[in-house]
Amino acid sequence: MTHTLNRRGFDRERPGEEICVICMIHYKDRNEKTADAMRELAGIIIRHEPDNIMGSSTGAKPEQIVETSAAAGIITAVFTDKDSVMKLVQEIKAKDPGISVVLSGLFADVHDICESAGLTEHTSNYAVGISGNASLLPDHITLEIATQCGHGLVSRHYIEHVARRIGEGKMTAQEGAELLSKPCVCGIVNKKRTEEILLKMVEQNPFTEEREINYAVRQKRKFS
């Protein structure tokens, strides 16, 4: 969850597309009292119906998500509706839980949310891009999905594989987005946006059989 700032594909012209919410207890403050506060926060977040939430990839039930968040000292979720986040933050502020809350998205969106709750931004983390050996990176559109899991668990090859299956009519983009959300244990892959990106990938049709075979051959060479 350290890495949501590095998500690709945001555009100031498309505000409100997604906001990640992270609540975290500072390590020195972990105790029964803050664990209870975290339980309450997790319950509030679930009630505001995020698009995806920590634990959902393993099929965890709401009560399990609440307990996991208290034990881990963190809860993470992604919303695709700014109004919901505004209401959520207003409710969190009213509870005054003493737990850090981080929003990740367009700075303009976060500002609107803060303003609606009477808060001001405290500390920000700004991404200035990717440096180093750029030849190792996948193409921009693949990165738009891959960077949604901040821990880098959504494989570029899996994205290509899923897009190809969609192109072949073997699954829908919605099913593909659901599959690609599974590796992300933080539950912050935006399934709605992933579905749209997958459709765009299929439309551009870069997933020829030749490309797929090339990956298999590359892997075979590497291992033989």
């Binding site: 969850m1 350290t2 890495h3 700032l5 590095n6 998500r7 690709r8 555009d11 992270i22 975290m24 390590y27 020195k28 881990a72 963190i74 969190i92 502020k93 005054d96 003493g98 737990i99 850090s100 809350v101 981080v102 929003l103 990740s104 700075f107 500002h111 949310i113 001001t120 931004e121 405290h122 500390t123 920000s124 983390n125 700004y126 991404a127 200035v128 891009g129 990717i130 440096s131 180093g132 050996n133 990176l137 996948p138 990165l143 901040g150 821990h151 880098g152 668990l153 959504v154 494989s155 570029r156 090859h157 899996y158 244990v185 933080c186 990956y215 892997q219 075979k220 590497k222 291992f223």
Partner: protein
């Protein structure tokens, strides 16, 4: 992580899910035909656990050894976000960075933080690559955050990492350090040029700063103006601590 060859039915469904391409095929030529096995390359695998967690294998052929030895265990610690770091007790990459700054006040109005995540996005990196960054950061006057698992492996005076960890590969690891606010552009320029020239892998660079009194982003505007002259553009999106914990006696 390894594949139990007695259980594997060679469906190959697990191959694309590996973030670092560690799962592949080995082929053996027999007298009348070729035989193949699906295997996990021990050196390439970063122990992130995705292949096993996704339950892609209906036979349960993807397995983990009972105990991963040191220093290989660091692969899991830095690549598997369900793994709690021994040195910080934090999940994920093991650092709270600015997420709890409204409590700890590590980033003040006089300094800025740099977070350089080596191996990200989705490429992976050896600790020897991370060491290049940590040593450069020390040379540039960076003061390392103590509450980061990388620091537990590092000599803070030089940035050198423990010799035995250098050839361990992870999905990513974060070098986090602080510099005086007035040095932000100088450090950014030198660091970026160094990373572009020296790294085998990739790295994301980010800057952490306290917002202005009114919540404004003056550092972002400085970076945007600087980026126009130096060929980069800060993202329009990022992470913002909204100061909820500060309301309860934290750090206003």
């Amino acid at each position: 992580m390894y594949i139990d060859q007695d259980a594997c039915e060679r469906c190959m469904d697990c191959i694309p899910v590996c973030p670092v391409g560690a799962i592949g095929i080995t082929e053996t030529k027999l007298i009348h035909h070729f035989s193949f096995q699906v295997v996990i390359d021990y050196e390439t695998c970063v122990e992130c656990g995705v292949c096993r967690r996704l339950r892609k294998c209906p036979q349960g052929a993807i397995k983990q050894v009972e105990e991963i030895p040191y220093p290989r265990i660091l692969r899991a610690a830095f690549s598997d976000p369900t793994f709690r770091h021994a040195s910080t007790a934090v999940l994920g990459r093991g650092t709270e960075e600015m997420k709890t700054n409204d409590v700890k006040n590590e980033f003040t109005r006089d300094n800025v933080g740099f977070s350089v995540e080596v191996g990200r996005p989705g490429v992976g990196a050896y600790f020897r690559d991370l060491q290049k960054v940590t040593m450069k950061a020390v040379a540039l006057g960076g003061d390392f955050a103590s509450y980061n698992p990388v620091v537990a492996l590092m000599d803070k005076s030089t940035g050198a990492l423990k010799e035995e960890v250098l050839n361990e590969k992870v999905l990513s690891a974060i070098a986090e350090f602080i510099v005086p606010r007035e040095k932000v552009l100088d450090v950014l320029e030198k660091l970026t040029a160094f990373i572009n020239a020296e790294l085998e892998s990739v790295a994301t660079i980010s800057v952490i700063a306290r917002n202005d009194d009114d919540g404004g982003h003056s550092i972002l505007h400085t970076l945007e103006a600087h980026g126009k002259l130096h060929g980069y553009a800060p993202y329009p999106n990022g992470k913002v601590n909204i100061g909820i914990a500060a309301m309860k006696g934290g750090n206003p």
